[in-house]
């Protein structure tokens, strides 16, 4: 069965947010809605080594949208079956069936489904399904100047890039089996790192 997935290279991302803007533009999202978000993760500080003070400050970015999980908790919890997984693995929301109960947003550990007050229903990344159906890449992938984003079949992406699935502050992949392949920043396993732009990202 097909399993379309994103690849994200955290070590290459400069945090320019071109992907975020491309997504917002393509999907005509209102203020406050970001179906792809760039999280700025930072940590470290100064520590004394002998007589000297040494810095181990670090920062990296995580560009994330819906991960089109193999076990989508959003779809399992949706009372109206408005959230469905297509044969190609893309998880989509049918706005006509959605009642805007926000139960999917409670459950998703990636903050993917977002409530749109103007329409009264949930919305999220659909991997630019219309582009995919035309054989094109999702908008965010083509917008990335660093080529930090890629898209394709999950197994092919793993073979091409390898897979580091435990990146702070993402949850354990075993929970939802996200269809994302990550190349982690060298400090991405540091549990003392924190998301620095919480206010910018808003109601995630």
């Amino acid at each position: 069965m097909s399993r379309l997935a994103f690849f994200f290279d955290s070590s290459a991302c400069s945090g320019c947010k071109a992907c975020q803007v491309a997504c917002k533009d393509k999907n005509d999202l209102p203020v406050g809605q970001l179906w792809r978000r760039v999280y700025e993760v930072s940590g470290g500080g100064w520590k004394k080594q002998g007589a000297a003070w040494v810095s181990n400050v670090f920062a990296y970015n995580l560009s994330l949208s819906c991960n089109h999980c193999e076990e989508p908790v959003c779809a399992y919890n949706c009372p109206t079956q408005a959230i469905q997984k297509r044969d190609d693995g893309i998880v989509v929301i049918d706005p006509a069936a959605c009642i805007g109960c926000k139960y999917c947003a409670w459950a998703c550990p990636y903050g993917a489904p977002q409530f749109n007050p103007a329409t009264g229903v949930m919305g999220k990344c659909d991997l630019c399904a219309d582009y995919v159906d035309q054989g094109r890449n999702p908008g965010c992938v083509d917008a990335c100047p660093m080529r930090a984003l890629d898209f394709g079949q999950y197994d092919e992406l793993v073979a091409k890039y390898g897979d580091s699935d435990q990146v702070h502050p993402l949850p354990a992949p075993s929970i939802t089996q996200p269809s994302i392949v990550l190349r982690a920043h060298q400090r991405a396993g540091d549990a003392h790192a924190a998301v620095a732009n919480v206010e910018e990202l808003g109601d995630a």
Partner: protein
């Protein structure tokens, strides 16, 4: 807690109060060995079955305020296989229908009371509803809710709110129950409150130890500590008041003690309200 969650605070409390009334009516019947007799039937405001019915209808109405697109609400029962929310909606429908049948039967027969046998399905549907309500919050990615504290808290709240309502109706004279049964009801309420105080304290400690990840350690910053302390204070004050009343000679929950009883009943509702706000405010999920 977000403002939109306030409708869920009212929904859960009102529904659990309705279930609690039905359960307590059944318990009083078991304790006394006879059907609890209502002095008021039909559309009289003191009819306990009508009160339970109105509460669950109001609860359902409040739940609609939470929806962004309520016109599609009938679809919400389509995912019974995996969605606890669908199951909850089925359960609240069953509970409402059972209550409606019990009410209509009592009204039609004009009996000085209500059809006890018809309350049994309502009580079972109420327990099913209580179970599904707990299930809604058993989300694997929300560790603050996904624990035994949720079903325990909901069950205790149901018993507590049901006791408050039945004692209120008894003091107002709209249901006739023997004094010893009412005292037993009050004593059970007291025990429920003490259990709630204990579990609330344990839950607070559990939450404060949690790594809340992306959102930051809100609990360790003491945001919720004040709320838990306030609830604990109201809980203990209510429990103390009930204990004092129970130690009085004669029937404790009689109309001549209403000057003491009404404030206690109000405190009982207030502490449940604070507790439910704290429940929703404690939400955080794993990940981002």
């Amino acid at each position: 807690m977000r403002r939109r969650d306030l409708s869920l605070v009212f929904f859960t409390l009102l529904a659990q109060c309705s279930i609690g009334i039905v359960l307590w009516l059944m318990l009083l019947a078991l304790i006394t060995g006879q059907r609890p007799v209502s002095a008021e039937t039909g559309l009289a405001p003191g009819n306990p079955v009508l009160l339970a019915l109105l509460l669950v209808v109001l609860a359902t109405t409040m739940s609609f305020l939470h929806l962004g697109n309520p016109r599609s609400a009938p679809r919400a029962i389509r995912n019974l296989a995996t969605s606890w929310l669908s199951r909850e909606i089925l359960a609240i429908g069953l509970f409402t229908v059972c209550l409606l049948l019990a009410f209509l039967t009592g009204w039609r027969t004009g009996a000085a009371g209500f059809a006890g046998l018809l309350l049994l399905p309502a009580a079972l549907a109420g327990l099913f509803l209580l179970w599904t309500m707990s299930g809604v919050y058993s989300i694997v990615t929300v560790p603050s809710w996904n624990s035994a504290h949720t079903p325990i808290g909901f069950t205790l709240a149901t018993l507590s709110l049901g006791a408050v309502s039945c004692l209120l109706l008894a003091v107002a004279g709209t249901i006739e129950v023997e004094a010893f049964a009412l005292d037993l009801c009050a004593a059970t309420w007291l025990a429920t409150l003490l259990l709630e105080a204990g579990t609330s304290l344990a839950n607070q400690r559990r939450l404060e130890k949690m790594d809340t990840g992306f959102r930051g350690p809100a609990f360790r910053h003491g945001v919720l500590r004040g709320g838990f302390l306030a609830r604990g204070g109201v809980l203990l004050l209510t429990a103390l008041g009930i204990a004092v009343l129970l130690l009085q000679p004669g029937a404790a929950f009689a109309p001549d003690h209403s000057g003491w009883i009404y404030p206690l009943l109000i405190l009982g509702v207030v502490q449940e309200f604070i507790g439910r706000i704290l429940f929703y405010a404690s939400y955080f999920r794993l990940g981002l």
